[in-house]
């Protein structure tokens, strides 16, 4: 296909049509748009149109994309027990309506505070929520997600401690988070030491003590961990302190902060995690929002944007991006992070969610998750051949073991419109008969009973 006259097929997202173009070319003093592209060498210019589909009308796009979406099996018409770092919780209706307000959706990073107070104040509120929830002092404006948040926490810790080369990461931290850290630090000369768990599913404190040598700059644990088990923060803090390591707590299920004691209350230095559960759906993994909250002493090492309070020339309270000398646009190669674009809109959703649910709602969501998971566990334990292998305390997620391969059991549940869990064998060798089950306030007792019945039936079918 040769190149068509660009002015024949007018497009709906571009305002200027041929009359405008003619008038504008005249002001510029040329007669052809192509003249504006003379600095691009002719030998790299395309002589044909790109070979891609379109242009499509809205009608055609809806048809094609909806057909694709319909090919997915999802919580739309299945009961889902999938977690593992992405959770379907209640989303108050007004959040998405408010997110669609153009002033939030279609504005840029608030570099000009006089015309961006809406975004800036919201970030300041978001930062406050994060501090209250984690029990720590200073939160940033957001990071990409939980996994890259952990990377940033590890990098921060190394900047603070200096001249040490090892970071200890619990094997029960989300395996994809640890994988991401490996990628991030691969050229920085750090060694990642993984520490496993004991029968209760909590980190092996003896192994942790052994791993915490004096060249360890940070210890990172997740709670509830990837197995769903709540860690003993105090025991871990004590061991890390003895080695002089920075203590990093990872939270992959944000609603747990509504009911469990926060890492700040146990002396942890950094809380970092995934805030998706606060108001946005699982959407195949993104966009999510990473949160990071640190002790006051670490604030000048913080990656990413920070919003602070100040006043304008009339003395009126106002908000502004601050402590920018940490950041890449000022410090360039010596910045605390390379992050620029973050997840502001998802942080805004989190602010809305946390405000709507509030003091009482955050506790109630936590209590319902806890109670429904406890109910499901007790019902599952009545099935003879189901084992809950870890005895440690859990919040809303736990590991289930049956005598059969998890993939087969889950395939059977899928036939009964149940997305029953996440097979653990893909993350941990030798765990092919286990899967991870997550429960939230969205599940009814009927859903839970259905799961128990379907699992019972699946096991007996496997037996046959």
């Amino acid at each position: 296909m040769s190149l068509p006259d660009p002015l024949t097929d007018q497009h709906r997202y571009i305002s200027n049509a041929s009359q405008d173009v003619g008038e504008m070319l005249e002001v510029i003093g040329i007669d052809d748009i192509d003249r504006l592209f003379e600095t691009i060498p002719a030998d790299v210019k395309l002589t044909e149109l790109l070979n891609i589909p379109g242009p499509w009308s809205e009608i055609e796009s809806r048809r094609w994309f909806r057909a694709l979406a319909a090919k997915n099996l999802t919580a739309v018409d299945h009961v889902s027990f999938l977690g593992g770092g992405a959770y379907l919780h209640y989303q108050p209706a007004c959040i998405d309506q408010l997110l669609l307000r153009a002033e939030f959706l279609t504005s840029y990073t608030p570099y000009q505070p006089e015309v961006s107070q809406g975004t800036l104040q919201s970030i300041f509120e978001y930062q406050t929520h994060q501090c209250l929830l984690t029990g720590l002092d200073v939160a940033n404006a957001s990071l990409y997600d939980g996994s890259t948040g952990l990377c940033e926490a590890v990098l921060l810790a190394e900047r603070v401690v200096r001249k040490r080369t090892k970071v200890v990461i619990a094997k029960s931290v989300h395996p994809q988070y640890t994988e991401t850290v490996r990628t991030y630090v691969q050229n920085l000369g750090y060694e990642i030491v993984e520490v496993g768990w004991t029968n209760d599913g909590r980190i092996d404190t003896e192994a942790l003590r052994a791993a915490c040598t004096n060249d360890v700059f940070a210890v990172a644990v997740q709670s509830p961990n990837f197995l769903g088990v709540i860690e003993d923060y105090d025991a871990i803090a004590q061991i890390a302190d003895a080695a002089g390591a920075v203590k990093i707590a990872v939270i992959a299920e944000a609603t747990s902060l509504g009911i469990l004691t926060p890492p700040g209350a146990h002396g942890f230095d950094i809380a970092v995690g995934e805030g998706q559960a606060w108001g946005v759906p699982t959407q195949y993994g993104g966009p999510f929002v990473g949160f990071m909250v640190v002790k006051d002493a670490l604030k000048r090492h913080m990656p990413g944007r920070l919003v602070g309070e100040t006043v304008d020339v009339d003395g009126k309270r106002a908000y502004v991006l601050t402590l920018a000398t940490r950041e890449q646009h000022i410090r360039r190669g010596k910045a605390t992070s390379n992050i620029c674009t973050n997840e502001a809109l998802i942080a805004l959703a989190a602010n809305m969610y946390l405000s709507l649910m509030g003091k009482e709602g955050l506790r109630e969501v936590g209590q319902q998750c806890l109670s429904k998971a406890a109910y499901l566990r007790s019902e599952l334990q009545k099935i003879g051949s189901v084992i809950l292998p870890f005895s440690g305390p859990v919040y809303n997620e736990f590991v289930v073991r049956t005598p059969f391969p998890a993939a087969e059991i889950l395939a059977d549940l899928e036939h009964h419109k149940i997305l029953g869990g996440i097979p653990l064998g893909q993350f941990y060798e030798g765990h092919d008969d286990e899967f991870l089950v997550a429960v939230t306030e969205l599940h009814t007792r009927e859903n839970l009973d259905q799961f128990v019945a379907a699992l019972t039936a699946a096991i007996s079918r496997e037996r046959r």
Binding site: D43, F124, D145, V311, D312
Partner: protein
């Protein structure tokens, strides 16, 4: 209008939600040592309070929907609402990132199609969709370069970066394990072939260059750059932040570029959301394909799709799960809406609009680099500084005329830079109104400089005491 913080709206006993009554026994077995007390100071507000609060907050922002938002290098273009609707399709929105491949064939097909589309746009053999922002893509790209060089025996030491580059470039290169060597730009604001040739030693891993650069000037010698680098076994990295200016006109792969990231929230219309989310897919040349992050999306002969984790030389994953999937959905929706002619038209009209502004404003503002520019134009405050009026003042005064200011004091090679990028979205009338405002301000700088120096006068707040914010940081509300 003063706006209270949501925490200051809080009143004991108010509530913004209702959950179904608990239909199972309340759990009591968790030890109390693991349970937190009431979250002191958390909010108690009604839904009405929340809606009023955030609606009022929103009114303090300006946005692209309300008018021209000419931030240079940020590509603030129209954000089609079809993209939003499609991304909210429940089959996408409720899909889970750890579902097995057979349950998410729709998602994998979508990822496969957007990769194919970007491969064609870039002119490159593969693209990773995992990075979730431009800077994330930069890190990914440089990690691949490092791994490829390390595999052939020497990862090398330096990344060359022109002095006009975005700050993310040196930061990303540093986190990927390199030291930075800055390249001085010439009198046209571009990089000289000779300067580059002298700088490319055996220690240099790559040149990281923005094309067109942050002045909007295309690096016409780009193919020569590629030749010089490739001769020494080094790589050519292109920061694709400015892809909007040449999409559909020319392709990075045809220029000898080895790695490019594209900010989908710029060229491909996904909303900036006050700072994110974005997405930063990275295209690579053949020799870097083995090093792409895992997993990749592949198609079987029977037409089904799967995630392939088996790339032994991969740098690894750069994020949990599958990138900013629902940003990718929006971007692909846009690519399909535009089609091949539409994508080319974007570049044509974006460049036309920028050059129209350049023509109209060049008498009123100093143009520090006269080289022909594409999608953006960089002026300076040189004509205004004799009246002691500076770029910051001009930017603030624009707010009184109802426009968001351009990017200011960037690129760093221009003192008092005003970097204007209108994008293809803007109609001529909007450009005229903007130019009229800029010209009126230039006149005010002559006749009433104090008015400009004390601007803005009509915004929700006026100039802020930024020094105080940094000196005595207040980073959260406290009772």
């Amino acid at each position: 209008m003063t706006t209270q913080l949501i925490f200051e709206h809080s009143k004991r006993g108010r509530r913004g939600y209702r959950l179904p009554a608990l239909d199972v026994p309340e759990a009591t077995e968790l030890p109390s040592s693991l349970m937190r007390d009431e979250i002191a100071d958390e909010v108690e507000v009604s839904e009405v309070d929340v809606i009023r609060h955030f609606t009022r907050l929103s009114k303090l922002n300006v946005s692209i929907d309300a008018g021209l938002y000419p931030l240079g290098s940020c590509t603030m273009k129209h954000n089609p609402r079809l993209n939003e609707e499609i991304a909210r399709t429940p089959g996408f929105a409720l899909s889970h990132p750890l579902q097995p491949d057979h349950q998410v064939q729709g998602n994998l097909a979508l990822l496969w199609h957007i990769e194919r589309t970007l491969m064609e746009i870039f002119g490159m053999p593969r693209v990773t969709l995992q990075p979730v922002a431009g800077a994330h893509g930069e890190l990914t790209g440089i990690l691949m370069v490092h791994k490829a060089l390390a595999k052939s025996g020497n990862a090398r030491k330096y990344i060359l970066i022109p002095d006009s580059a975005h700050g993310t470039n040196p930061a990303s290169a540093a986190f990927a394990g390199y030291e930075i060597r800055e390249l001085k730009s010439n009198s046209r604001g571009t990089v000289d072939v000779d300067t580059l040739a002298a700088a490319v030693t055996e220690d240099v891993a790559a040149l990281m260059i923005t094309v067109p650069n942050t002045l909007g000037v295309f690096e016409s010698d780009i193919k020569k750059f590629a030749g010089i680098l490739h001769d020494k076994g080094a790589y050519l990295y292109c920061d694709g932040a400015n892809l909007n200016s040449f999409v559909g006109i020319a392709r990075p792969g045809d220029m000898g570029i080895d790695v490019i990231h594209s900010n989908l929230h710029k060229t491909f219309s996904t909303p900036h959301g006050g700072g994110g989310p974005g997405a930063g897919p990275v295209g690579v040349s053949e020799k870097l394909v083995p090093f792409l992050p895992t997993p990749t999306v592949e198609q079987r002969e029977d037409g089904t799709y799967y995630l392939d984790h088996g790339h032994p030389d991969s740098i690894g994953r750069v994020r949990a799960f599958n990138g900013n999937f629902n940003v990718l959905v929006r971007a692909l929706t846009y690519m399909r809406s535009m089609g091949p002619d539409g994508l080319r038209r974007i570049a044509q009209i974006a460049v036309l609009n920028a050059n129209y502004i350049r023509a109209k404003l060049r008498g009123s503002y100093h143009l520090p680099y006269d080289a022909p520019s594409l999608h953006e134009v960089v002026f300076s405050d040189k004509l205004q500084t004799p009246k002691d009026v500076h770029t910051l003042d001009i930017a603030k005064r624009l707010m009184d005329y109802g426009f968001h200011p351009p990017t200011i004091y960037f690129p760093l090679i221009v003192a008092g830079a005003l970097m204007i990028e209108p994008t293809e979205s803007e109609p001529k009338e909007e450009l005229d109104a903007f130019c009229d405002a800029m010209i009126a301000i230039a006149k005010e700088c002559e006749e009433r400089p104090e008015l400009v120096r004390s601007a803005p006068h009509t915004t929700p707040v006026r100039r802020l005491d930024e020094a105080r914010a940094a000196r005595q940081p207040v980073l959260r509300w406290k009772r």
